[in-house]
Amino acid sequence: MKHTLSVLLQNKPGVLSRVTGLFSGRGFNIESLCVAETLDPGISCLTLVTRGDNSIIEQITKQLHKLIDVIKVTDISEKEYVEREMVLIRIKAESQTRAEVLRVIDIFRGKVVDVSSRSYAVEVTGSASKIQALIDLLKPIGIKEIVRTGTIAMARASKNK
């Protein structure tokens, strides 16, 4: 099962390697990882997507928590949540395909961010599955380069608040 963990960390040198070292040392896998400062510059938020059965996820959560520099660990996927990922794709766009590329990008509410005579670079944001669907559609046309941010996620506010 896929799980999205949100981890608050002390924003200090070496902290990220404690987290990644924990995963590699114990044979847990990381599907994606995204980290940046929070409003408090002393604290960063790390969003991590991993897979495993309940007992593995329980171990991962406990082990993360055991790291001294980790402040809080939440398994966001246990709750209602929103997740987003951004992708930049450079795609072949020659005269026959230029219009089609634009149509697809439009359907996915993407934006063209760079243009040349033979390619477009586009920016698209969405859930990991939406991004995957887009990639599947564009592949036959010809993807020249692709960069993904990895997932970030946030729990939804509870209804009665």
Binding site: P13, G14, Q63, H65, K66, I68, I71
Partner: protein, 566 residues
């Protein structure tokens, strides 16, 4: 606000933490700190190899319960200490390791004797720090001691750039440490305690399975109270030996790969396993699916990651072992309508079964005329020391025979590398223990292979008047590995025959120590008596039956009921 050098600040901080003895080895990066130490009342024990420093400081902690401190220079000094740090980490020993580092301006430049020791030790420390500015120096040290000794203890490394130690700083006032992100749970959940107690009341075949956590949290008294009041048999892990008196009728000795028949059978047939400060290590459980498969499991541990890691637990209790056991004892004394005597009597039939197992399959070995059986040496050491010595061990058969045949009746009297199984641990550990208790008898039970891994520490023992006794169970083999080869590799003794071994008697003499040798059984007692009468360092070289094996043995991966017996 007092101004001083960084080195003086470190010394002052160590004094505030109550440190009197440290173990270290100098070098360019820590020369300022050694200089400052000279003006203090702290003794540095100058070892002969940094691994020895860390093991000795580790052992100092194991026997006293205090935080052990080692001081190493940068680069090779620090890397030489890594095995020691990993050893302490695997056995959850509270330590602070101070390492020198190149000046801040050179960090990252591949400077002379620069290594990223914080990077190297990240997976084998509880936490570690590179101090990067002078305001942090003292607060980081204080935090290091705090982290080392609280929660599940462990080694904490602090890397100290040379320029910070040479430079000036203002010494900050002491204030209580509160860390928002680190708050170990000591108090047990009271609902879980009640659940556990009710489960104990339902049980007819309970077993207490206790580990090093009981010793680390000084919970032995509370454990004794629980076991004796309710008549519950106790088995201990290697790290748990001494947590409950080995001579007590309720003790079943060690469990697991080389555990007693009784302990392994009892765990297999028990209906309730009460695990306290133990972690279901593979050397204890054997084949996981069959471990305690008829039992409900209560697990008390201060580290939540230990719980349900290998074995699914029915009643988890995250707490300090002492707090939890005390809470259980007080539940039984306060809960209305419980007659402890009657409850204890409910276990009589179970104890009868256990007594039958012990009578039928005791921990034993075969005598063979004048051949020296290693088990006999251990029995005689136990007898002639009145069980009062602090025993350290090396690793291998020597370690297992000691665990099986020495009756440890008190906590903090058995010092051994359990989790990592580090050969070369025993001699520096003996020195660490002797520095902590100069008046006690300290004996390292060694193998001929292991003792050669840190034999240089004989000089340290001599220099600091540590009259440790070393009993080498000499089989001229890397015996434990040879045993596996005999049993599972067609007796192909690949690289386990020590064709050249030094003359340990002469070697002892070369260091100014006493060397004694026994080659037949009748010489064993006189040699031990002579050694115990000496106030010098003594090596006793016992030529033992070369191919003696450690039994019982559970082959790796097998269920613990599938024991090979003598």
């Amino acid at each position: 606000m007092v101004k001083m050098t960084g080195s003086q600040a470190i010394v002052k901080c160590l004094q505030e933490e109550g440190v009197k003895t440290i173990f270290g080895y100098p070098g360019g990066a820590v020369i300022d700190l050694f200089d400052a130490l000279m003006d203090s009342d702290i003794t540095n024990v100058l070892v002969r190899h940094e691994q020895g420093a860390v093991h000795a400081a580790d052992s100092f902690s194991r026997v006293t319960g205090e935080v052990g401190v080692a001081l190493l220079t940068s680069g090779p000094g620090a890397t030489n200490g890594v095995t020691g740090i990993a050893t302490a980490y695997c056995d959850s020993i509270p330590m602070v390791i101070l390492t020198g580092q190149v000046p801040r301006s050179l960090i990252g430049n591949d400077a002379f004797q620069e290594v990223d020791i914080v990077g190297i030790t990240r997976p084998c420390t509880k936490h570690n720090y590179l101090v990067s500015n002078k305001e942090d120096l003292v607060p980081v040290l204080r935090e290091a001691f705090y982290i080392a000794r609280t929660g599940r203890p462990g080694p904490v490394l602090v890397d100290l750039p040379k320029d910070l130690m040479a430079g000036q700083l203002t010494y900050p006032e002491q204030k209580p440490i509160r860390m928002q992100n680190y708050q170990p749970t000591y108090e047990p959940h009271i609902g879980q305690i009640a659940k556990a107690c009710k489960q104990i009341l339902k049980s007819r075949k309970p077993v207490l399975y206790v580990g090093g956590g009981v010793i680390l949290s000084d919970a032995h008294k509370a454990l004794e109270e629980l076991a004796i009041n309710l008549n519950i048999p106790v088995t201990m892990t290697l790290m748990g030996l001494g947590a409950f008196p080995g001579s007590h009728p309720l003790s079943m000795g060690m469990l697991g790969m080389h555990g007693s028949y009784t302990a392994n059978m009892a765990v297999a047939q028990s209906d309730l396993l009460i695990a306290v400060g133990a972690r279901f290590d593979d050397r204890v459980t054997g084949k996981l699916e069959e471990f305690a498969c008829n039992a409900k499991i209560i697990h008390i541990d201060i580290d939540p990651t230990s719980i349900s890691k290998n074995v699914k637990v029915d009643i988890p209790i995250v707490a300090d072992c002492q707090y939890a056991l005390t809470a259980i004892n007080s539940w039984f004394s306060k809960e209305p309508g419980i007659n402890i005597k009657e409850e204890a009597a409910q276990h009589e039939a179970w104890l009868e079964t256990i007594r039958e197992w012990s009578a039928k399959y005791p921990m034993t070995y075969k005598e063979e005329g004048e051949l020296i059986k290693p088990q006999y040496v251990i029995e005689m050491l136990d007898k002639l020391t009145g069980g009062n010595a602090i025993i350290t061990t090396e690793v291998g058969q020597n370690q297992m025979w000691t665990a099986q045949f020495f009756k440890f009746n008190k906590p903090r009297h058995f010092v051994t590398s359990g989790g990592l199984g580090t050969m070369g641990f025993g001699l520096p550990a003996a020195i660490g223990a002797q520095m902590a208790f100069p008046d006690r008898l300290v004996i390292d039970v060694a193998g001929d292979g292991s003792i050669q891994m840190n034999i240089q520490e004989l000089a340290t023992a001599k220099q600091y008047n540590c009259p440790v006794k070393i009993a080498i169970l000499n089989n001229s083999y890397l015996g434990m590995v040879r045993q596996w080869q005999e049993l599972f590799y067609d007796k192909r003794y690949a690289s386990t025959v020590m064709e050249v071994t030094p003359d340990f008697v002469k070697l002892a003499e070369a260091y100014g120590a006493v060397g004694l040798r026994a080659t037949k059984k009748s010489e064993v007692v006189p040699v031990i008596e002579k050694a115990l009468a000496s106030n010098n360092v003594v090596i006793m070289d016992f030529s033992i039956a070369r191919e003696e094996n450690v039994y019982p043995m559970v082959p790796a991966g097998k269920a613990t009921t599938e024991m090979l017996l003598v």
